[in-house]
């Protein structure tokens, strides 16, 4: 590693602290931490929503919550976990590690990055604010028309849902442009596309999916909003509209969305398994192309969510075949992961446990998914607990286990401390057992006829036994998460003593101190393969010197800025104003929001991104 004149200069680059520095930060690492903290809180809220449902379903004919409240619980649980949980948790890792993985100082557009976070926060607060008005969304996370039309959903509930998702969509789109350009344009010399870490590849494909899928749901939500507020009939049969159009538009977004939810976790597993097997990833190129194929094909399977809508045998067959086909590249990945650990020198640390757990749980979820791909079988399974089992295996067993592996893997790098291994392993086992107790019996309940989204079931319906098991499982699962929280909180109290490379990692982030300095790299090391850190370690005879902290004098970093926050508030104002269309003069709110938005944009555009040079 080249020594630099910077190493001998006095340390003068002090990272600022204090609330204002966090509000105006444009540093991708801080924004990542903001995303992660916020997302984890929303994840816990979503978990509480789930626990309440599970407590309600523990006994037949239960009255812990009303049917109406239950509707809000499953709607908000789904919406929260997807849009406020998994996606921003993935964004935490995109933010923190994509620049580090490609050897960059930051993302392509640091202020746009901050903007994405603030819009996400405001969107999440907006949609949850509805609880305070007893108007939480209650028509399902997928908002099927015409239940969501004014006739059947007269209150503000669905408006909070529609508008909240629009706000969140803007956050996702802005971030997707940012990361896409970053990956394409800010790679260090030698970092060819086919040398990038697999996490970056999967994230790259995820950004492409975001860019192509979100516009479709934006349009669908606009149509629904127009129906609800301005008298159109896009999804209303009495005006010639077709409610099934909503389903098409929603799932054209919705199916790529599930790949958006899983690909980052796939990427994390592809990072963790090689490091903890001390073996390179098996079939790097095949992993890239299978990921790309999954994404592309993911746009051709959407109506497998609609087998029960009477599309006819030709449409059903087409989507059945495309869905079965998509199992192939997924299978390639599974086999390549197995090929990675096969013959490896396994280091049984917590990240490995969660990564292996992810693979195992995802296989189960994938199997039930392929069972859905047959329309005749799906007519039995759809709208039953069998589907609930399937998607929790892929989303929790897949995404959450994968993200947790990432959390344990990258915690030392982000926070400079090692999480406790014993508690970590306890977390894993209790979470694995709790998860399977909660969700495996749902396969049986579904095939035995228990429908989804029901707030209770009759005594004597034969559903009691498994529901009770599932609730105990959920409580065990919740307890395991408390262990994780305890682990994090107690670890954060310790001093920052983690080494730069505690796991003997393969990628660039392990070559800089833990946590990294604000400017990331003083000098980026040469990149000649997809495993630059291993290359350096090998060249150093199996050792890597602990990188020193340097002054960073003369390194230009983008200036902090308040304009992303202001602009985000403008977005909230414009979109949120639609809540008030039943009031006279509501348009004034829109105009005020637009004024703030334009003001923010102009100040942002005319602010120099870097400190002025002298």
């Amino acid at each position: 590693m080249a020594t630099s004149v910077l190493e001998h200069a006095p340390a003068i680059h002090q990272e600022k602290s204090g609330l204002w520095s966090w509000i105006t930060t444009v540093d991708h690492k801080r924004i990542g931490i903001l995303y992660g903290t916020t997302a984890f809180i929303f994840f816990l809220i979503g978990g509480i929503e789930a626990l309440i449902m599970r407590l309600q379903l523990m006994r037949p004919d239960n009255h812990l919550v009303s049917a109406e409240a239950f509707n809000s619980l499953f709607t908000m649980h789904g919406t929260t976990m997807i849009f406020l949980g998994v996606m921003p948790l993935s964004a935490m890792f995109f933010n923190y590690f994509i620049p580090l993985h490609i050897g960059a100082r930051d993302v392509a557009f640091p202020r746009l990055n901050a903007f994405s976070y603030w819009v996400f926060l405001l969107g999440g607060l907006f949609i949850n604010f509805s609880f305070l008005l007893n108007a939480a969304p209650n028509a399902g996370w997928f908002g099927y028309a015409n239940l969501t039309e004014r006739t059947y959903s007269p209150g503000l509930n669905t408006d909070f849902w529609v508008l909240g998702l629009q706000i969140l969509g803007i956050a996702s789109m802005a971030a997707a442009i940012n990361f896409f350009v970053t990956i394409v344009n800010l790679r260090a010399p030698g970092m060819k596309m086919l040398r990038m870490p697999m996490f970056v590849w999967m994230s790259f494909i995820t950004q492409i999916l975001l860019l192509l899928a979100f516009p479709v749901i934006t349009v669908a939500l606009v149509f629904l909003m127009m129906d609800r507020h301005f008298g159109s009939h896009f999804f209303l049969p009495e005006g010639g509209g077709d409610p099934v159009l909503w389903q098409h538009l929603f799932w054209i977004f919705g199916h790529p969305e599930v790949y958006i939810l899983i690909l980052p976790a796939f990427g994390i597993v592809s990072e963790v398994l090689p490091v903890f097997s001390r073996k390179p990833l098996f079939g790097y190129t095949a992993m890239v192309f299978s990921g790309a194929f999954i994404a592309f094909l993911g746009f051709g399977v959407w109506s497998h969510h609609m087998f029960a809508t009477g599309m006819g045998p030709i449409a059903d067959s087409f989507f059945a075949i495309s869905t079965m086909l998509i199992a192939v590249p997924t299978g390639v990945k599974i086999f390549n992961w197995l090929g990675t650990i096969w013959g490896g020198s396994l280091q049984f640390k917590t990240p490995l446990y969660f990564a292996l757990g992810m693979v195992a749980m995802f296989i189960i979820g994938g199997l039930s998914g392929v069972m859905h791909s047959s329309p005749p079988a799906d007519l039995q399974q759809t709208d039953s607990y069998f589907v609930v089992a399937h998607f929790h295996y892929v989303l929790f067993g897949g995404s959450i286990f994968g993200l947790t592996a990432g959390a344990y893997y990258w915690f030392p790098k982000m926070f400079g401390r090692m999480l406790n291994e014993t508690i970590g392993k306890a977390h894993f086992w209790l979470m694995l057992i709790g998860f399977n107790l909660t969700f495996f019996p749902m396969h049986f309940l579904g095939l035995n006829g228990m429908p989804r989204r029901v707030y209770t079931y009759a005594a004597g319906s034969n559903f009691e036994f498994w529901n009770r098991i599932e609730t105990w499982g959920a409580l065990l699962l919740a307890f395991s998460l408390l262990l994780f929280v305890y682990n994090v909180v107690s670890t954060m109290r310790k001093p920052k003593t983690a080494p730069a490379d505690p796991w003997k990692g393969a990628t660039l982030e392990w070559l800089i101190p833990s946590p990294p300095q604000e400017f990331n790299f003083a000098d980026v090391p040469p990149v000649n393969s997809s495993t630059p850190a291993w290359d350096l370690r090998r060249a150093g005879g199996g050792q890597l010197p602990e990188p020193k902290r340097v002054s960073g004098a003369g390194i230009h970093l983008p200036s902090p800025s308040i304009w992303p926050v202001v602009t985000a508030c403008g977005v909230l104002g414009v979109i949120g104003s639609i809540l008030f269309t039943h009031m006279k003069g509501w348009f004034v709110i829109t105009l005020c929001g637009a004024a703030v938005l334009l003001f923010g944009i102009y100040r942002w555009a005319f602010e120099p991104p870097f400190p002025e040079e002298h």
Partner: protein
């Protein structure tokens, strides 16, 4: 997608460096194509050169798609400079257009109202 030089100093053959003259010719072609589109519409509707209506009407949609695709390509390749720019930028445009076309065609087919209920 590795770093490559885009040489902005090449002496302008018209292909390497469009001139205002080329741009003007493109503008003229675009205008003519638009006029043709309107003409196809009017002929197909029987309001212009009525003798051609029976020939043009069945293929009017096809002709319009071809004409508009030509205009699209001209603006993209010349005004948006894609012909001279790195291939990446064309791909950033073409790939989403393909997905967009797939979606439009799929939805039209799935909702085509000449189908009998459940027969598709």
């Amino acid at each position: 997608m590795d770093a490559h030089a885009h040489d902005s100093q090449a002496p302008g053959a018209q292909h390497a460096h469009p001139t205002p003259g080329l741009y003007a010719r493109i503008a003229l072609i675009l205008f003519v194509l638009t006029a043709l589109e309107v003409m196809v519409f009017e002929i197909a509707g029987g309001h212009f050169i009525t003798s051609l209506q029976s020939v043009v009407a069945p293929v009017a949609v096809l002709i319009l798609l071809v004409l508009s695709a030509a205009k699209f390509a001209l603006v993209a390749m010349f005004y948006m400079h894609l012909k001279q720019d790195p291939r990446l930028l064309s791909n950033l445009f073409v790939f989403p257009i393909i997905i967009a076309a797939v979606i439009i065609i799929s939805l039209v087919v799935l909702f085509s109202y000449w189908r009998k209920v459940g027969a598709l």
